[in-house]
Subunit: 329 residues, 2 copies
């Protein structure tokens, strides 16, 4: 057992989250830097390298303390080469991220999709609790996901595996999705989708307390909907029921196919806690095969914003050629 650190990096459109993570997955230090999206994000590797050096200095450590970097980023990524085809929110197009960051830091770099990396984090140190068959569902502005099977991320043939937000929940007559299709589960179970269901439905439900929120705030959020449902508002409860029905069906259908041990629900919407988990579990159990339901535990993600940096550190750990770093959880 060395006492070296991995560097976990979670690149987002606004900030880059970074951490030094121990062999055991404990965060030794964490910080954020702004994402410099100017000039198609070309400065980002330099910024990351500088932040690593700065934080090492502040902690009184040398570069020898670090063994490797793992990084999660949004967009289309070729994992083997760490090449980013396209990351719209960052600005990267045909960007050889791994190559550049390795040059800037002198450390081995491993790159994967941010949703996959968050799933690895939850597997290692979060609600996934070491399960090597795991489905991670992230309910945020959109709906993302990561699938782990036999302890490894399922990437698929061109890196699209885990795009569960675009599973069709309503085959005919669904709402348009950003992806170009209609009726995707993202249009229903994302924070945006839930807010839309509330705002469009309020016309028929002026009695709902969400009406006054719409008037005072100019919008209704997913959080408002779960809080109103909790407080007994029947229209809000109807929306929660609808979201749970569609999401439970999608997740159960997927579970019937991949038979996960843990289903981890993360993202902003998951902060509703039992207000989401209870109706979701009911619908899941309705549509999953009994033995599949028996084998699966649905849980709310526990790592929050740290899932990305911890999962990125795991990625660095399992990609390490060192015999000290075994491929075990």
């Amino acid at each position: 057992m060395t006492n070296k650190w991995y560097v976990g990096v979670d690149v987002g459109g606004t900030t880059i989250k970074m951490a030094f993570v121990t062999e055991n997955g404990e965060i030794a230090a964490k910080w954020e830097i702004p994402t410099n999206t100017e000039e198609q994000g070309i400065q980002i590797p330099k910024d990351i390298a500088a932040a690593i050096r700065l934080n090492l200095d502040q902690l009184g450590e040398s570069e020898q303390k670090l063994s490797a970097i793992g990084l999660g980023a949004p967009g289309f990524i070729e994992m083997e080469t760490g090449f980013i085809y396209k990351a719209v929110n960052i600005g990267w197009t045909d960007f050889p991220l791994k190559e550049i960051l390795e040059k800037e830091t002198g450390l081995r770099v491993t790159v994967d999709n941010d949703a996959n990396v968050a799933a690895l984090g939850e597997m290692w140190k979060g609600a996934g609790d070491g399960a090597s068959d795991l489905l991670c569902v992230t309910l945020g502005t959109g709906v993302g996901g990561g699938i782990i099977s036999n302890g490894k991320i399922v990437h698929g043939v061109n890196g699209m595996a885990g795009e569960i937000g675009h599973i069709t929940a309503i085959a005919d007559g669904g709402v348009s999705c950003n992806c170009g299709k209609t009726g995707c589960i993202e249009t229903i179970a994302s924070a945006t989708g839930i807010a839309r269901l509330a705002e469009t439905g309020l016309v028929q439900h002026p009695e709902s307390k969400l009406q006054s929120i719409l008037v005072s705030d100019g919008e209704v959020t997913a959080k408002d909907v779960f809080e109103a449902a909790e407080a007994g508002d029947s229209f809000a409860a109807e929306i929660v029921e609808k979201v749970s029905f569609h999401l439970g069906l999608v997740v159960a259908n997927l579970a019937n196919s991949i038979n996960p041990k843990k289903i981890v629900i993360g993202g902003g919407v998951s902060k509703a806690g039992d207000g989401l988990l209870t109706p979701l579990t009911t619908q899941f159990n309705r549509f999953a095969l009994p033995r599949v339901a028996e084998g699966a535990e649905i849980e709310i993600a526990t790592l929050g914003n740290d899932a990305g940096v911890i999962g990125a550190a795991w990625l660095a750990k399992i990609s390490s050629p060192s015999p000290l770093n075994k491929h075990t959880v």
Copy 2:
């Protein structure tokens, strides 16, 4: 390269298919024996061992010619130990198949679920064409499946992965399924499901030529439906459209999650060929993300009844401790 053979065994409720298979996946000899389901199937390992010896003798080969046995069986199986919890059609309950068959033959035995083994066969030598991300859908009396990711079978936490027949296609008001749920894709896209759609729908469609088949044969089969659709019968075409819609949606939703390179459609219903493949591909492309659809090829299985024995031989090959047998396709 040795010139040893693997023994591939595919245990079904009526017959046991067996083959000697070369390192390259070519069948050197194949044969069938009846499945002796008496006394809870206790004689089966002895029957398999005797059949191996008999066929070796007939080919003038000794037991040294054989390196290992792979076996596919229906039911709930613990893969690591080759223990069968329950195989209803065979009679096995809590049956230590691997242990007994190893004793009977002196060869190493590896056991997996028959649908998974068929998927491995198609991956190795059939329509899967070596793809390490593959989805196999078997449309027979029921609907089965096998998922291969990163070149390995996805088993899930308790061996239920790939049970795609029980994905819910009709959430409300679907027909009862053998599994206890309703609206499973098996109730629509299996041979039985297609026949049921025809027979129940004929009341409203006395003009269909399927009517006279029902009268003369006492039943309508899936084959009748595809043939009538091909010949221009509009009611039959409507059924094919309905089956393709539901199956295309289910397969596309799964593809959005696991992003396979090959989707191999097997089983009796797949004999319809382009009559199924063309409308199915249309519906698939409608519901799959563009990049997922680009990455995937849908094909009809090519190995037919040999998929099981060839896949079982592959299972023996990749489980082999010999350095000659690499984990590559």
